[in-house]
Subunit: 596 residues, 2 copies
């Protein structure tokens, strides 16, 4: 039985690569030490093993059903929720006074990786609740926190994000859900939302929807959007549950994967009595939502990386124990078959998975440390770098995670295509990630059209400084030197491409410069993951390179080989991407709808 | 409602690009003309629309069930089988005297594309039966043809290929199913087979299994394998059904996609009374099976291309009618949203699908014309070229078909991830194709380790001659000239790579030369598809370039743009692959199992 995640790898990334112990000097984390981190991670692993991994398949096979009155989810999903909440993970990062543990976001992210790898669909309910809770914590009034946040953190209520509308999709500025102010200061909400994950369920007694809507008379476009708290059941002043609010389940969407999490169409105010409470100021809703969205994007990255990583571990286990075929040079048909891990092409498929998924996890956890620095240490540079990286943190794992899972299926062959194994489910589950919380295309426009130039390119300057720091450290390691030359050469290509695109963008050639943004996103992803692999392998050598322990030596050799694979097999692909970008190739942009 | 395939495209490929009318001069097809071809294709389209496309989703949702006694398949699957057989498609290519239509294989392949696009799982039953029938037709005795082939062609019996064993997978030389000769000339078969598609069902009264087994005392390895006819129900001398043979369903495999086709584990001879009949000569079984396997591989390519193509058509239809967002340069939030087909990144995703799937279909149909030339015209060169191309025909569509479907999902966004639309099912169904009938890895070894050098590289010489012929024709078209220079340059890279790898292989460095064969397979695929795009667009210009009809002009412009996309965006990726191959990069091969 293979693991769903490796605590050893998580520990290596947190402590050796990202040095999260440094965070202990921030006053917010003063009560913590490595022991409390370790204990929390171990608890997460235990709860994830006992109460999430135990029903990964079942949650897929026994999709939530709507019987016309109520949704029915399997008992195991409810039990998982209870154990997650009882362990205090929803509010793990929150203030002590709210009952939280004041854990760093980076530790929370590692906890997230653990639960996502174990059972992403069942973990989605508490993840979404935690994300919604963050918004109320950041922007809600004291009264709203009392009434809604406290029961969310305790696990009594769940939370959702209700952004998307049927006719609008990603184009939030066009949303049409309405909010009408009432005399008592509340609003009446009316409109339809779709693809609301966890939008209805029978796990909690109440669900707190955060709904984007436009107050009557507000400006059109993104500047007239406000954010509302809309509970499924109204909450009395004493905290007890009151009447059912006018929020109706219009239907369940049936997904390819992620089946354990309900995806819903919701109607707000069909009977004209849907009560909502304005969160923060009017017309600032999109900004508030983006506070949440940015962290949600990191969590999408973490989920995608974790599913990729689990597929890697499962296919690795299979390849180690499945005898089949012989080496091409073996001519004796009587020779014993070798385990398939001996075949060069299987090694390729495992190594690519290792490079994608460990690299993705490292990047996501790095981003999480930036959240900590930005929030707990008020570090403006960390915030700037985080904003630049977010589109890549969201999209690289989302694209290469499913590709990892594709390779895992291929290694298992016919077995991998059956539901008797997990890898096909990982592949289906992971396919959501390039879609939700901003599609790939949207991430690419965010990166190339906005983030790169924000604050006069400060984020990029900081990123390049990170690269330089890693290169300087790696130069002292003879084993890494052969990788530094290609890395630096390809980096020159990247900076040249950015210059060219920047000139076009700032010269008003917006369409032209953005036309191939998807290529640019991939190029940046490959460059950043190459850097994180240099950093990881440099840290592996520094930490364990002199160890006499065989396991340590193998660990370091594996890290080096994955870095080599990524820098020699994947990174050079950016040269051709750069050429298309620099030449403003219009093969796609010039295609006309009627030519298809 | 979008089409599942375009008859216009099929006609363009068959007549304009591949000039199948030329086949009419072969004596075997003397009774045919374009009208009979067209009528057959139209009938196929009608039957596919009425009886296959009608239950594409249903066959997925209502997977065949085993109730402990019998398999239950939905009624629609049985009706589809009946209509397919009544229209005479199982034996469409067979001799008149067998009740066939003596249609060219290329027309059959186009029929296959039509049914695969409509409903690949329901089409698999007759496809497999047709493939098994071919083997009996080619190698069976007159008596075997009478008893088994005739009822297969009429649709009374179905057929399967029973190769794989649980512990053996792709390594057929290791198979252990036994055949014991009996006094009456028949054999007793005993052993277990797995992943047998259509291995049991309730559609036909009998199933004819073609089973690979080893006669007692036969040599080990691939040279001791024989092929047997093993019916589910014994057939009496008068053709009536006799006793149930000792073939038991050990279980159903539950797949990610392709759910409408049963995948079975079968036990032969559990009670020691499983009767089998030797097909052809003893110990020649693998060769016979490969006759069938090679055509099965073309059909895998066709299926993968067709599923890719259907996803393209469905996402195209969606993109044409889904308004969302605005152009990046549009600053007015009141401006009407554009249909998403206007977005450059959506154009990219559509154009890539068009390039992959129309290119794949063209290649598969080209291969089918080679089957006709080889078989109906006894053309040795056609056979040689076909053998070289088969690994690419099988693998390019199998790899890029699912990638096409991935892009189709992405275009539909959240909708694409739900089972309310077809694209997610196409993606799941198509994922089987890189696995069955020889995995990707096996195709790459077949190409680089064997086919390229067969008969002193005759296949490659013929392929290069095809390229030259196309380049010469394209040179007369000014619009194509800009694509010829990059094509020729990259082709030089390919020939240089082949030389280097050949020297290593023939110098005994087998492991080294084959280590990165997967890269080589992809490189050859990209090169061959670039050629087929040059050929297709040259033929489009020649046929319709001077038309004043707007639809014709758009058709030609679309072909040109897809050729441009493929040659400028995809083909250049082979340069980096070539570099890794030529340098014998050992990033993967040098990885050690314990380092993972």
């Amino acid at each position: 039985m293979s693991q769903f995640i490796s605590l050893k790898e998580i520990n290596f990334l947190l402590y050796d690569v990202l040095d999260v112990e440094q965070m202990l000097r921030f006053p917010r984390f003063a009560d913590h030490d490595k022991t409390t981190f370790d204990e929390t991670l171990n608890t997460a692993y235990r709860v994830a093993t006992d109460h999430f991994a135990n029903h990964y398949k079942l949650a897929d096979e026994q999709e939530p059903q709507f019987d016309g009155e109520q949704i029915r989810t399997p008992a195991a999903v409810k039990t998982a929720w209870q154990h997650y909440c009882q362990a205090g993970f929803i509010g793990a990062g929150k203030d002590y006074e709210l009952g939280g543990m004041q854990l760093p976001y980076s530790i929370n992210a590692a906890i997230g990786a653990t639960f996502a790898a174990a059972n992403v669909a069942s973990a989605a309910y508490p993840f979404l609740t935690g994300a919604a809770a963050n918004v109320i914590d950041s922007f809600g009034s004291a009264e709203q926190k009392q009434r809604f946040l406290a029961p969310m953190l305790s696990g009594e209520f769940a939370g959702t994000m209700a952004l998307t509308e049927p006719d609008v999709g990603s184009s939030l500025g066009d949303l049409s859900t309405k909010a009408t102010p009432m005399a008592d200061g509340s609003y009446r909400i009316s409109g339809n939302k779709i693809y609301i994950s966890g939008g209805d369920q029978d796990i909690t007694s109440n669900i707190v929807h955060l709904v984007l809507a436009r107050i009557e008379g507000a400006p059109s476009g993104t500047k007239g959007i406000s954010l509302f708290i809309v509970p499924k059941v109204l909450v009395n002043d004493d905290g007890s549950l009151g009447e059912r609010n006018d929020v109706q389940l219009a239907g369940l969407l049936h997904k390819m994967g992620y089946r354990g999490t309900t995806s819903t169409a919701l109607s707000f105010g069909e009977q004209g009595r849907c009560v909502g409470y304005l969160l923060g100021e009017a017309n600032h809703g999109l900004g508030y939502m983006f506070k949440m969205m940015n962290e949600a994007r990191i969590f999408v990255g973490i989920g995608a990386a974790s599913l990729g990583y689990r597929g890697y571990l499962e296919s690795l286990e299979y390849a180690r124990h499945r005898p089949q075929g012989r080496k091409p040079s073996e001519k004796d048909p009587h020779a014993k078959p070798v385990n398939i891990i001996e075949h060069s092409d299987v090694k390729r498929m495992l190594l690519a998975q290792k490079a994608y998924s460990e690299g993705s996890l490292a990047l996501c956890l790095f981003a999480a440390t930036l959240v900590d620095r930005a929030e707990a240490d008020n570090d403006g540079d960390a915030k700037e770098l985080l904003e630049l990286l977010t589109p890549v943190v969201k999209s690289f794992p989302s694209y290469y995670g499913p590709r990892s899972n594709d390779l895992a299926i291929q290694i298992l062959g016919g077995a991998g295509y059956t539901r008797e194994y997990n890898v096909e489910q990982l592949y289906r589950d992971n396919r959501l990630n390039p879609i939700h919380e901003g599609t790939h295309g949207i991430q690419s426009l965010d990166l190339l059209g906005r983030k790169l130039w924000q604050n006069r390119g400060r984020g990029l300057t900081l990123l390049l400084a990170q690269f330089q720091q890693t290169v300087a450290a790696a130069e002292t390691q003879p084993q890494l030197r052969p990788l530094l030359t290609p890395f630096s050469q390809h980096l020159q290509t990247v900076t040249r491409t950015i210059e060219t695109l920047g000139q076009a963008l700032h010269g008003g050639k917006v369409e032209l410069a953005l036309a191939n943004s998807a290529l640019f996103l991939d190029m940046m992803g490959k460059t950043i993951i190459s850097w994180i692999w240099l950093k990881s392998s440099e840290r592996a050598i520094a930490g364990y390179g002199h160890s006499q322990d065989e396991e340590d030596q193998a660990f370091v050799a594996g890290k080096l080989q994955a870095a080599k694979y990524f820098i020699q097999w994947e990174l050079p692909q950016i040269e051709h991407q750069a050429q298309l970008l620099i030449e403003f190739d219009d093969s796609c942009a010039a295609m006309q709808p009627e030519w298809f």
